[in-house]
Symmetry: none
Subunit: 204 residues, 4 copies
DNA sequence: CATGAATGAGTTTTCATTCAT
DNA sequence: CATGAATGAAAACTCATTCAT
């Protein structure tokens, strides 16, 4: 017994993953526009036909990559939100996890940024909305955590939506500076320090 | 009185400016890639030939726009740096001015971001280096101001380069959130609050 | 029997050849500059994409055609050079073969001339050098044959390089006059007569 | 008295000549297509407007240059034809004069060749016919000289048209080789030697 | 006469996507 | 499923020529 029941499925996933890996590296390095489908197929060692068998379009690959990362990130946040325990500790843990994820997935991060301001051009509406949705849910998760803080008495009442946007902004801005000054800038230090200062300002 | 001094000179600048204005709006809306030279010439009401009479390439227009904004921003910072007076007050004034500039020139800001992560693809080396230079000088100006604070005893000694990168990151992150959530997010409030918190953390 | 060995391979060559044939006729008639890629694709009944699948550029097609002809010509000369036997007979045979080739490939000849004096403009360095190389090797082959004549005692010692250039010049000049006065000028007669007279002048 | 009655006319000719000189150098170096009207105006230090005041088109300049050279050449031939005296001496003198002219006007020669095989593309019909006419008259003049030789009993009867085309061809072929191998090829030597050999073959 | 800004038709080339094999 | 040849719309850019000043 013990037959491989999903041989072909695995193979399918293999090729799909190979394509994504190649595209990830290329998008991260050169961006979406500068990367041609030819670059991707050559990088992945597959044919044009295969690329279009597994993905509807170049855009689809980019969306898939973006989605993976945003999904991971969102899950992390929602998990933190749903977790019980002290808000301050929760935030501490979260920051560390976020930094960890970013350090591990720099290429994904790069792709996210390369794509971000051209979203409307790169993705069709269907996708753009999904991406926008991720960002909304990310913000909402952060908002919830801040609300938990307020409810628990750790923070004094404040405009939690505004605070969530600020916290997102901080994280994003530090990401950018980190990606452009990797040698002499520690993202995790900066994030801890900066978020710390902000949180301090709403502490009771 | 009040005669127009030089008809033809004005006309020249007129067309150049018209092209830049049209490109600004288009780049801000659709980004560099999605904007065709045809879009620009139609938007400006000029011919292809005129576009290429005043600019060497589409890239050249984008660079010119980016440059304008970065220049203004850099001047503001360097002016603050060279100004005498209390560091804290200086920073307060600066923040207000920056916010003012951004509110006035949202389109420029948008173009800057639309172009930022594709720089290497959009601009050739010659230009990329110039742009990179602007960012370096911007960081250095911020650094200088922080050093002034340390020397004057307002701040305790700290890694001013890191701090400058953090401050840039904060401003940038808030810009992004502002550009994407304009209705319910006040860039200037957020900037004041966030920078305030960070500065507080290095105050003596 | 007589089956077509490889369908798809043939097809590939078919299109490539069709493009070359169309370009040959057009270049010969109108020259390189007056022929647009559109002319070629329409003439060949293929799409723009196909043209650029088989050739890197319009220039590449012109080079390919030039190369074919120069190659044939060079081979003919080098074969004559390497052949044993009496020099005078060798030259006689060669002249006949050259004339034969030209009569058969008038269009190629025309393209060669249409392209010759704009080489530097039409071809980039990479190609120009290859073309220049052909001409050098052609001259050297002729030179070798003349040296054989001197060594064998058929010709008296003379500047063989100069002689080679003269012989090339004669052939080329007669080609030109022939191409422009085809009705009332026999290239092969003229070549036999003229080369005969020159050869006579170095005979012992 | 002694007023300059044709001041402006001279000036007119001056500019015209300046433009032609600049175009001559450029066409000789880069050819007709690679030379833009901008190159010419910059080379001549005049405005676009001036160029088009003195010449109807770029083509017109090229025609004017070609025409000058062909005219000089034709005059030389027709003068020789009309001159009395021994045919052989006449031919000797002519060859020397032709060589002299070519050595003096290499740039003109280059332009003539750069333009020759693209004539139909560069010149409109009106001009092409004029150029073709020059070549016809050149051939006819040579033909006449050969006929003189036959009539005077110096040459034996032969197809003088064919001979004229051969002589033109020889001259042209040697020109080409000379232009492409100037360092180690003497056009005048080669012409004397080659024409000598041909003429010898029709001598009685 | 002189200027040079303005024109726009026309050119080569790219590249995401398809589909017959 | 896999291949890669074939497609053609679309893009950036050039440049001879004109004409208002």
């Amino acid at each position: 017994m013990n037959m491989k029941p999903k041989g072909s499925l695995n193979k399918k996933n293999d090729i799909e993953q190979t394509i994504k890996r190649a595209a990830l590296a290329l998008f991260a390095e050169k961006g979406f526009h500068a990367t041609t489908t030819r670059d991707i197929t050559e990088g992945a060692g597959v044919s044009k036909g295969s690329l279009y068998w597994y993905f509807r379009s170049k855009e689809d690959i980019a969306f898939s990559l973006s989605s993976d990362m945003l999904n991971d990130f969102l899950k992390m946040l929602e998990h933190a939100r749903d977790e019980r325990g002290d808000v301050l500790e929760k935030i501490d843990r979260l920051i560390k996890k976020v930094a960890e994820l970013y350090y591990k997935e720099v290429e994904y991060l790069r792709v996210l940024w390369k794509v971000r301001f051209d979203r409307d051009y790169i993705f069709r509406k269907e996708y753009t909305e999904k991406v926008a949705n991720y960002y909304t849910r990310i913000r909402q998760a952060i908002e919830s955590i801040m609300e938990q803080g307020v409810r628990s008495g750790a923070f004094r009442p404040h405009d939690t939506k505004q605070m969530a946007l600020i916290l997102m902004g901080i994280s994003e801005g530090l990401e950018i500076e980190w990606l452009e000054n990797m040698e002499d800038f520690s993202f995790s230090d900066a994030l801890i320090k900066t978020v710390g200062a902000i949180i301090a300002s709403v502490k009771k």
